[in-house]
Every structure is written in C-alpha cells, then in structure tokens.
Amino acid sequence: MSEWWTYRPEDFLLFSPRVYWRMFELHNASLWPLHVLTLGAGLIIVLLIARRSGIGARWIAFILAMLWIFVGWSFLWNRYATINWAAAYVAPAFAVEGVLLLVIGSLRDGLAFDRRGPADWTGYLILGFALAGQPLLAPLQARGWASSEVFGIAPDPTAMATLGVLLLARGKLLPVLLPIPVLWCLLSAMTLSTMGEPQAWPPYAALALAAAAWTWTIIRRRGSPPPA
C-alpha cells in the first residue's frame, strides 16, 4: 500500500454502525435459542474452575475450543465476512485457537486450575462480565436485546471470557493460547472505536486488566523467595 501513512482507521471501515449491529440481530435470530446452551456452557466453565478438579480443566478447554471454532465459522466466516472481507482471513485464526485449546487442554498439566493466584479476581471479573455484562450493553445503549453479544455466539464475549479463563489458569503453554484472544480484542475494540461506539471500552478494558494482572503476577513471583 503506497503512502500508508496517509491512511486513517476510518479508511478501513467498510460498513456503518447500523449495518454492524443489524448483523448481530440477524445472527442472534438465526441461532436462537442456542444462546441458552452457550451461556450454560459458560456457567459450567465457572463452576469447573471453582471446583479446581483436574478433569475439569480438560472440559473447560474442550468447551472453549468448540465455541471458538463455532464462532469463527458461524459468525466470522458466514456472517461478518459478508460486510468485511478481512473477516474471512481472521476466521481461520479462531479455528487455530480452537485447535490449540484442544491440544493443550488434552496434555497432562497443559492447563490447570488447581492453584489460586493474585490474578484470580481479575480473571473472574472479566469472565463474569463476558457472560453476564456484555449481553446487557445492547439494551443499555437502546439497541434492544436483539443485537446483544452473547458468549459462544459472538466473538467479543467469547474472546474476553477466554482471557478471563486464561488468567485463572496455569500451565507452561499458556502463552501460546494468549495471542489470538488478545489480538481479536484489540481488533474489535479498534473497529468499534473507529465507528464511534462506546462499546469499544469492554475489550480495551479486558486487555488492560489482563495485562495489569499478569504484570502483577510476574512481579510477585520474581519478588518471592526461592523455595528452600
């Protein structure tokens, strides 16, 4: 692209806010009542994390993997790509995240939720918001429930919930699972802020909170005395 420095975020925005939110209305209408199932899956994830069982970690990874693959296929590939050709290039990344969750979740100690750490409350906060807070934003902004973004149906709450889960997890391969949810939150927040939509703040806030929690965790670990 020549004279790239002359381009602004608005130059890459191909659609209007009205079309964007109508897209969620149509998507929700086409999948209802699957939302009940995906929200139920989200609650199961919370319960499994709280129980700290070893087998639970595999189920959490499996549920998240299925939802990433489903959202990538149903929303990005089949729906969003009709108004944003770039979404067709992003959809495979959702499938990759799903496969990574399946693989890492199936490894011994790939993901574990058996220890509590300083980032816990941030993880629960982000996860709780993704499940219960994000769907409320549409009616709170006078768009009605029809265009709500629901975990497991829409990409933002799915990515934010995954960030929350990863904050609550431990595992050597955890950093491999982070880039795609982080990049999606960033991309979505930039798209929404370019449209002038206040709904840009949740993905930005989730990223900021996650970054702060991880930084704090790393600092605490380095500052703690080595085991005897």
């Binding site: 209007s16 109508r22 149509l26 729906r79 108004i83 944003n84």
Partner: protein, 306 residues
Amino acid sequence: MRTTRRTFVQASLAATAAATLLPISLRAQQAPPARRPIPSTHEEIPIVGLGTWITFNVGDDPVLRDECAGVMAAFFEAGGRMIDSSPMYGSSQPVIGYGLQKLGRPSALFSAEKVWTSSGAAGPAQIEQSRRFWGVPKFDLVQVHNLLTWKAHLPMLFQMKAAGAVRYVGITTSEGRRHDLLEQIMRNEPIDFVQFSYNVVDREAEARLLPLASERGIAVIVNRPFRQGALTDRLKREPLPEWAREFGVSSWAQLILKFILAHPAVTVAIPATTRVDHVRENLSAAAGPMPDPAMRERIAAHVKAL
C-alpha cells in the same frame, strides 16, 4: 428470509416514507438533472451519480438490501444513471445486483466498476466476478482502483475496450493521494475517465488535475463530495446563507454539491447515501442555475469561515 415482491415493496415504501410525504405532483415536477458529455465519445451523462462506498455494504440483510434497492429506484426515477462501486466495497456489488434485478434492470444504468487487486493476472477474473454480481452483460466503465497495479491493469483494460468488453477505461484515487502519479498517467495514457476527491474544502485538484482533464479530454468523476458525510454533518449546525437560495438550493448538501458541479471540468459527482430523500435532493442539485466562478469562491470562503 426469502424476500418476495410484496415484502420488497413494503420495505421500499418504509424506506421512502419521508420522501413520499411529498405530493406526487411535486416530485414529478422535479427538473431532470443536467448532463455533460464524456469527452472521448460526446455521450452525455447526468452530472450526479450514485456512490456505494459503505452505504451499500449491507451484507445479506434483507431489510437493508431492500432499502438500497429503494435508493436505486429513487435515483433512476429522478433521472440518475451512473452507479459506481468496487470489489473493495464489501457486499456493495451483490447488493447493486439485487437492486437492479428488483428494478427490472433499468436501461438508464451507466455501470462504473473498478479492478482492485495487486495481481495483474487476477484482474480479468475479478472483473468477471464483479460483472456477475451486477448481473450486467458488460460494464460501461472499469477503473483501476486507487492506482493499484495500474501498470498491469491499464493495458488489460485497453484490450478489453478494444474487444468491446467494456466501453470506457479509467483510473481512480481518493483523498488527495498520489496526485503526481495520477497526473503522469493522465498525460501519458489514453484513459476516458479519472476519479478523485474534490469538494469545497479539498480543492487541491483545481490546481492541476481538473485543468489537465479539460486539456486532455478526460471525463472527471468526483468522489467524496461531502467528505463521507463529515462535511454535511459539520455544516448542518450552521444556517444556510440567504444568498444561496438564488440557486434554488434548500440544504447545505445541495449548495456544496453545486459548488463541485459548477466546475466546468467536472463530469459527474457521485455522492453516496442510504436515504431516498437524500438521493432526490442530490439529483435536484444537478438541475437549475449553477454558481459562477465568483460565487463559487464566495461559497468556499463562507464554508471555510464557519
């Protein structure tokens, strides 16, 4: 949801609700838009067309597709001809095709498309895909979008023109980018059309591109006449000057559109809109008296001072 003729008509009526409040007799009295000749053939074309950037990218949404078809219906009804799109504009091409089919493929259509791919070899296939989206036998005009891979695409388009597969060839840029290269192409290549941004506040094209287009006999399509709505959004807070009424304008959009259309080198301006009343308003700016050079300066100075 399958869109039947009935649901289409209902949606179109809903989309045109504001405009249909006007008595039919009043709309019927709207003067036809002025025309200007395309220099390379002297074929005359209405001086206001229809852009589709963002506005027609509505995906598979049946309600919004019908609204776009309603805008196209009003556009043709008011005497418009040129519709401009690009493969870059998301679903705009199939949405145009949907509208054309609903409207019974209006014979007035002047189809203006673009080729937008960094691969020279992929150009013909992309143009063919675009043609299928529109559902037209061939395009009237195909332009190289934003000068992308122009060295490969222009010879291919000239070959298509020689073979009768396209009537006119052009090249585009926007927002003042790469005017030097555009000028070089205008001087050296036998293009029929050139497209760039020009409006009451972005007047860089007046210095070299517009005079060169006149000199070389190249038709000029003006994009972003309202700066993608930002200009009209800013101006709507200000009162329309009384002296503007002498041109029969009733809105800022019409005044700043007349500013563009009054330039003798401009052939067509292509404002984009999602509203039927706006498309009628735009077409009506193409009729009636136009500001002279002194008045154009007055309009520009007034807008700049606001």
